[in-house]
Structures are given as C-alpha cells and as structure tokens.
Symmetry: C2
Subunit: 215 residues, 2 copies
Amino acid sequence: MSEYQLHCFAQSGNAYKAALMLNLIDAEWEPIWVDFFNGGSKTPEYLAINEMGEVPALVDGANIITQSGVILDYLSSKHGKFGATSADHRREIMRWILWDNHKLTANIATARSMMNFLAPEKRKQDVIDFLIGRAKTALKVLDTRLATQRWIVGDTMTTADLSCVGYLFFDGEFSIELADYSKVARWRDSIAALPGWKHPYDLMPGHPLAERKSA
Amino acid sequence: MSEYQLHCFAQSGNAYKAALMLNLIDAEWEPIWVDFFNGGSKTPEYLAINEMGEVPALVDGANIITQSGVILDYLSSKHGKFGATSADHRREIMRWILWDNHKLTANIATARSMMNFLAPEKRKQDVIDFLIGRAKTALKVLDTRLATQRWIVGDTMTTADLSCVGYLFFDGEFSIELADYSKVARWRDSIAALPGWKHPYDLMPGHPLAERKSA
C-alpha cells in the first residue's frame, strides 16, 4: 500500500492542491475516488472520515487530515518541502492560504461549479456574475503581488502558491480570461513547468475526459 | 501608546474576531477606524498596510499582521491563550479556521453585507438566497460538531471558536434564525458570557448605534 491515500475526485481543485503537492514531492500516494456528484461526500461512511463533508482527506496511516490548507502545512512539515523556514514565514504562507480559501478559491470554485456541474434550470446568472466579479477582484490582488515577485511568499515556491493555483488550471470552465492577469498567467505556467506537474484531470480519477490534457 | 493597534470598523466580523481575542486576553489595544464604506480599505495608504485591501490588520510595533486566522494564531502563540498544545492540535484548530473562512464566514458575511450595506437597487435576491443556503449548510456542520462537544476543538475554548463565532453576533442582520441551530446558539451564548466579552458594536468604532447592545 502507498504511504498516503487521498480521498479526491478529478474536478476538485481543493483536492488538486493536495494531489499536486504529493506529486511534486514525489510521494507514494494513491487516489481514492469520491463520487461527489452522487452525494459521495455526504454518506455516513464519508462523514466519519470528514464531518465537513468535503474533499480532500489525506490518510497517513492512522492519521486523517482534512482541509487543503492543513494538508499542505502537514506535508510541508513532514517532508521539508515548500514550507516555512520560521514562524513568521509560516504565518505569511498561511495568510495567503487563508486569503485563497476566502477570496479566490471560494468564488472561482463556486462559480465554476454552478456553470458546469449544476443542472441548467438551477443555474442563476446573477449568482454567477456576482461570484465572478469577486473572483476578478481577488485575481487583481494576486496579479499585483506577482508583479514584484516570482512566487507569492519569498523567493521560492511554497504551499501558498499551490493553494492559490488550485483552480486556475480549470480555466475555460469559468468566465474569466486568465490572460487578462498576465503575472498570474506567467506564474501559473511556471508551476505547470515543474517536474511532476500534471493537470488535475490527469492526476485524480473520475473525469470523463481524464488524461486528455497531457495525452 | 497601547501595545497593539487594530485597523478595524464596527461592522466587520473578521475584525471582531481579532478585537474579541484582544479583549478576552486583556491586552492593551486600541482600534484604528477604517472608513470601509467610503473606500478606506482600498486607499494607497491602507494598501501599504495590507495589499489585500481588507480589515483587520494588527500592528504590534514594527510587525503588521493580517488575515484574522493568522492574527488569532499570532496572539495565541504570543500570549499562550486559546492556542494549541501540540502540532496536531494546532492543525486541528487551523482546520476549523480555514473551514470558517471558506464555508461559514464567507457566506454569512457576504449575504449580510448585501442585505444591509449595499444600495437597495444593487441587491440581488438570488445571490442572497444562494449565500444564505450555503451558510445554513455550514451552520448544520457546526451544530453537529457542537452536539458532542462544548467547544469546537478539544475541551477548552480556542481560536477556532473565536473565528467561527465572529459573524454570529450580527444575527438579526441576515435571514437565518440562530435558534434553529440550538447547539450553535448555546455555544455562542457561552462565549458572550466570558469576562471581557463585548458585542462588536461596543468593541470597535464606527457604527451609528455603537454601544447600543450592552448599554
């Protein structure tokens, strides 16, 4: 059995944050597919793993860790990669992970979900427009940040980058042109160029077009 | 001058998370009012303090700390209160703070803002309904958690409680009956009973009805 198991599904950018970290550090891991679109994250069995009813959940022996930001912190501490070198540095990384969860991922993920995965009769254009507007505000903040530095925190890639980039490889599935945020686009491409990088649909199971992107 | 200054305004539940912590630990602190509703968090001067354009920002001498979750972690480490006793404990606290930012605060705060602070012609009922629906899902998760334990993490109050409770004292300003989540309501009342507790409108400046609640 692999060292880690990751409860995930291909369409989840939050699960991807953890899966990408695992791949970039060359960890031994295997995905466990959660049938999210048929309620697989709300079953009693899954709620016993994560009462929040969310993916990802990382299994490390007897430990189960949830919330992508915590998984990233855990893996960086354990493997000594992409993590902090001081308490202040760690807080600066967590500052961007929290911001991502609140302002970037929350809006992009929810808009994309409504645009792609919700029955058409349940889609509300006002809601999509509202979320996309907020996501654009967040992308502007990130673009400004990346105008003066290559990575979000400090001189090297950290888990803050992995958190913030999670949903940005799904571009084309939400109504934002990433090219309009040129520093963000450049930074995203530099992550895609790292050894071990894979597109979410190639890294996690369950997408009908899995393996299409890097095939 | 006080030990700490907190950039904040009365209506911000995120600033309140930090302000309440400062009051509960009996820190010497003073608020610095941000004129949020007139763009005060987006001025060049304020963006130099926090490029994310958000409150709160905590000033501790030469250090400026932003994101409520990071401020709570910083203060708990520095003062040895409401914090973690081990690395695992700290991650469990951060798990709930991240969840709060993503699923509870993000939805309640945004719905409340639209219902109360946006010009009526800009309010979108579909957006409010959507956000309130997601906030109710989050409150159900929290209510289930609090059915089996008094505090969110472990046997004592932690910063996870302070983060999650931040917006719940603004009930009456968003369309959720907190009484429908009886464990959450009980837990919130137990926080309100702590020495040093004050309502946000009594703790931070700028609300027209400041000091109305505990007057």
